[in-house]
């Protein structure tokens, strides 16, 4: 009996040490906006955006969506076509304006995918207060949507803290 109890204790302790600690852990809060202009938007561009979205979404990510108009209000800008040259602060200052359960945004990712023009352009802000620009062009960009999504995720996590 005593022996069995010892065995159970040993196995229980092994299991205990194999479970990673998760105190204070939370998902990355990321807002993703499709910035492809209506005039350039078609089935291929929507599919491309969905591929990027699918690539960003994973276990540790809480994805938020908003339309272009909502984004412009959030970042207090007028022209969506200029999003690659907006100052960093336009995006990073907006992090605190969107909250989910009192948790502000960690990142905003703006995606403009136009397979017909062989162009995929992304602007992504990170919790560190910086923003990154990613451009892909001149070939079948939609085939590399997952690759770009991973790059977005990397940058979105930079400087993250629970």
């Amino acid at each position: 009996m005593k022996f069995r109890a010892t065995l159970v204790a040993i196995f229980a302790s092994i299991l205990w040490f194999h479970v990673p600690a998760q105190a204070g852990d939370r998902d990355l809060e990321i807002l993703v906006v499709n910035m492809t202009p209506d005039a350039a938007s078609d089935e291929a561009s929507r599919t491309c955006f969905q591929r990027v979205l699918r690539g960003i979404r994973n276990d540790g990510t809480h994805l938020l969506r908003r339309g272009e108009t909502g984004l412009l209000r959030l970042v207090q800008r007028d022209d969506p076509r200029e999003f690659m040259s907006w100052p960093d602060e336009a995006l990073t200052d907006a992090h605190s304006r969107v909250q989910t359960h009192n948790i502000p945004l960690d990142s905003i990712a703006l995606v403009d995918c136009r397979p017909s023009e062989q162009s995929l352009v992304v602007r992504v802000s990170s919790p560190s207060g910086a923003t990154s620009r990613i451009r892909l062009g001149g070939f079948a960009v939609e085939e590399h949507a997952a690759f770009v999504a991973r790059r977005i995720r990397d940058r979105a996590w930079a400087g993250w803290s629970p």
Binding site: F3, I134, R135, H144
Partner: protein, 234 residues
């Protein structure tokens, strides 16, 4: 007698369970050891620098399509643009833009990156940026650089089928006055004869050279860029 036989049986059970436990533990250690052995050997197999520099034809023999596509000696110059006809073909180029002297740790990582890229795309020539070309190279990582088509590519770089460029931020001093790396702030992979065909990532994302290159999954992108050259030729 019967009782003592039971006791023996119980003791045997304990011994058996204990032995099983030891065996399982040993098996676990063994598999771990063999797993690490596998990764070590695969790492050794992936070690690119010596293989690439000592015997470039071995890189070709790996069968990587991008290695073959990156081969600068391939005869496609005849049907290239006028520009390409006038410029001597070169191997793919590796360019490192850094403000000031990189830290020793960064220099090591850059060397590692070079080996990785060489393994991915075949032959690779690392070139020092001439002072006159620095502004042009810096412009690749600017918001309006490269893919919008207004890139400034120095003439000396134009014979290459592809350029891989890394921008390293200048180290900063921490509170103790020690210089600390800021990591990679830019990565560009593009065709010098057609700069709008490529991939550019720029921004102080705080990503270090090693982690950038560890996940250097640009091989498919580089292959896609090189494939556009083949498309031009046909």
């Amino acid at each position: 007698m019967k009782k003592s036989a039971g006791a023996v049986l119980f003791r045997m059970k304990r011994t058996t369970i204990f032995a099983c436990g030891v065996l399982i533990a040993l098996a676990g250690c063994g598999s771990e050891a063999s797993a690490s052995g596998t990764s070590a050997s695969s790492l050794a197999a992936q070690e690119p620098s010596r293989a690439a520099s000592a015997a470039p034809e071995q890189v070709e023999a790996t069968g990587e399509p991008e290695a073959a596509a990156a081969e600068p000696g391939s005869e496609e110059g005849g049907s290239e643009s006028e520009l390409a006809q006038n410029i001597e073909p070169r191997p793919p180029l590796f360019v490192v833009l850094s403000e000031g002297e990189p830290l020793r740790s960064e220099a090591r990582e850059i060397d590692g990156a070079e080996r990785q890229i060489r393994r991915r795309i075949g032959e690779l020539e690392r070139i020092e940026i001439a002072e006159a070309d620095r502004a042009a190279v810096r412009s690749w990582f600017q918001p309006e650089g490269l893919v919008v088509g207004n890139a400034n590519v120095p003439v000396a770089y134009r014979g290459a089928p592809i350029i891989v460029a890394i921008e390293i931020a200048a180290p900063v001093r921490n509170r103790r006055g020690r210089r600390v790396s800021q990591g990679v702030t830019g990565l560009a992979v593009f065709r010098p004869d057609q700069p709008s065909t490529g991939f550019v990532s720029a921004g102080p994302a705080g990503i270090y050279v090693s982690s950038y290159i560890e996940e250097f999954e640009l091989a498919p992108v580089a292959a896609a860029i090189l494939a556009t050259r083949e498309g031009d030729a046909s």
